[in-house]
Amino acid sequence: MTVVLNQITKSFGAAKVLHELDLEVHEGEFLVLLGASGSGKSTALRMIAGLESVTGGSISIDGRDVTNELPKNRNVAMVFQSYALYPHKTVGENIGYPLKIARLGKSEIEDQVRDVADQVQLTDYLDRYPRQLSGGQRQRVALARAMVRRPAVFLMDEPLSNLDAKLRGHMRAELKHMQQQLGITTIYVTHDQVEAMTLAHRVALLEMGKLQQLASPKSIYDDPETLFVAQFIGSPPMNVAKGSLDGGVFALGDDRIGTGKSLSSPDAVLGLRAEDCRVVEAGAGKIRAKLYANELIGDHTLVTAETASGMFSIKAEKEFDAPMNAAIGIDFDPEKLYLFDGSSGARMR
């Protein structure tokens, strides 16, 4: 089912937390709303769920305007960050609750509950209470409860952020597999860019209640439209250096870098991904730097180097080793660099 947000705004008193958000979620799509806390992503999700009123604009699900529809009439299911399991009901009763409200027969409920419980490996736990389960199991109960009624849309509000790192990775894969198998349109809120990159068909990056970019994970990574997007996505974050552009030559301290583009601006920002940089001998390369720290990550060494305009992170060979404070050079392919306007943050092409 499709979900369409049309010029959605939300204000709490004088504070506007969501600015004219336009969003179209396709049938069966996994869309991730990504943003820092306070970016309005959770508010947007809660508005789709009907838990928050809409200040302006309209929301439609499957072509039906639901802007002023009660949550129960929207046919959406939500997984909360806190799971929101009913503590006085068993796992089975928790999962079957939406069906019980829909007045399905007892045996029918039991069959369907058993069915979903199988899918999320909870069959042996149906008679337990939520307090007797581990975090990951509670997470799966919440998921099963959302799945059991085959909703038009899944809404997920940071469902993995209460889990420890190892379990989170495991559940992420499980979630992706499940969504693909069920083919149900999913809107997923997170502040974790790794979750966004790995799960999403498309990522909508929000900041201060405004949509920054809506694109596939690959293009949001390779082709960020603003400096904010470029720095938000990627780990380590994109290296940036302030400088000036004159006829396509970027001035970074005493270094002059040819960008291959005929652009000029007195206030520009150069961006470079860590994996696009190479550490070379002092004097060689395009940027002069001083080695600040080496960190062996496992499959590579993360080198932090001090340049005339702040620190640069560089992914180097795992065998890389050099003394601290050694003079080095940073080299890269000019094709791989990004240029942004210094004041607006807009991409310069």
């Binding site: 939500m78 806190s82 006085h88």
Partner: protein, 349 residues
């Protein structure tokens, strides 16, 4: 290991997690002292009820069968000769405290739930206008002899006219916190202050010395306590549980009965017990509102020290002993609901 001094051996644990001997002695003697302090009056009342007049008046005696010979004369007097008076007061007390508690908990918890979950923002100016038009109506009826129906109609009309006309000139609003404090402030006032107006009110409607008058008064007097306690309790139920139920398709009413009520059992039980004890022991209001038919137990107890035969300690003790019994029974019944950990597993990971 160094030799331990006596103080160290007494007050420092030999092993982590163990209580040292000296500490143990201090702690248990304090506990023992306090237990005796609390239980002795009850013991004293109990044995006094079996004492004869001589035993009471000839100085303290402590142990039945050793110090004095227990007799049932006081019990006989109350349950055989004054049977009807005792039974009447007893049933009055039970009826009044049960109904007053039920009414108070029912209305109070609904009010508390509304305050915990709905944002109210009445304008301060509108409240002021309402109070002023009410005062005007009272003055009109009381001083100038205007027909009360006319006065009410005019007051309501004036109120609506004024808030329409003046409403946009004031903006200050009150919030839920102010409403809650207003409720509590009703309890700050000493009952002595309002007992005369209450008396006159019930006199004018001919309800003096009836169950209804005392029930209504007790219910109103205890309402602030119920609201205060239950507000805190409802606040502590995670709102995600109710939101989740709404998304699962439940109506507001169903959410309340299916989710909120079962989770509030402990709070309701504690509040019920407290309010019931307050109503059971109340003296001042009962003294004013009942003369004979609706007399409650505390009045009966107090009457014991006003007879022409002097203070009848033994009879009073009998009444006190039977008066304690229902409270103990209620405490035992409700105690199992006041278990901790009801909300465990709801939202925490």
């Amino acid at each position: 290991m160094a030799e331990r001094t006596l103080m160290e051996r007494l007050f420092e644990p030999a092993q982590i997690g163990h209580m040292p001997v000296g500490t143990k002695i201090v702690v248990y003697s304090l506990l023992l002292f306090w237990t005796a302090f609390v239980l002795f009056p009850i013991y004293w009342v109990f044995i006094t009820s079996f004492k004869s007049a001589v035993d009471v008046n000839s100085g303290p005696v402590y142990l039945p069968f050793i110090d004095f010979k227990p007799s049932l004369h006081a019990w006989k007097e109350l349950f055989v000769f004054d049977w009807e008076d005792t039974l009447k007061a007893y049933t009055n007390s039970i009826i009044i405290s049960l109904f007053a508690t039920a009414l108070s908990v029912l209305i109070g918890s609904m009010a508390a739930y509304a305050l915990a979950r709905i944002e109210y923002a009445p304008k301060f100016g509108s409240i002021l206008i309402f109070v002023l038009s009410m005062i005007a109506a009272f003055v009109g009826v009381g001083v100038y002899g205007v027909d009360w129906r006319l006065a009410c109609a005019v007051a309501v009309a004036v109120f609506f006219f004024l808030i329409k006309a003046l409403g946009r000139f004031y903006a200050a609003r009150l919030g839920n916190g102010d409403i809650l404090f207003w409720m509590i402030s009703q309890r700050i006032l000493a009952p002595v202050v309002v007992v005369v107006p209450i008396y006159m009110m019930f006199q004018s409607v001919g309800l003096l010395d009836t169950h209804l008058a005392i029930i209504l008064t007790y219910a109103v007097v205890n309402l602030p306590i119920v609201i205060w306690l239950m507000y805190d309790f409802f606040k502590s139920i995670p709102i995600e549980l109710e939101e989740s139920a709404q998304l699962d398709g439940a109506t507001r009413l169903l959410t309340f009965f299916d989710i909120v009520l079962p989770l509030s059992k402990a709070g309701l039980a504690a509040t019920t017990l407290l309010v019931m004890i307050l109503a059971w022991n109340e003296y001042l209001l009962a003294l004013f509102l009942s003369t004979s038919k609706a007399q409650t137990m505390p009045i009966l107890v107090a009457a014991m020290n006003a007879g022409e035969r002097g203070i009848l300690w033994w009879n009073m003790s009998v009444v006190i002993v039977v008066m304690i019994i229902p409270v103990v029974v209620m405490a035992i019944i409700l105690q199992r609901f006041i278990a901790k950990g009801m909300l465990l597993g709801a939202v925490k990971g």
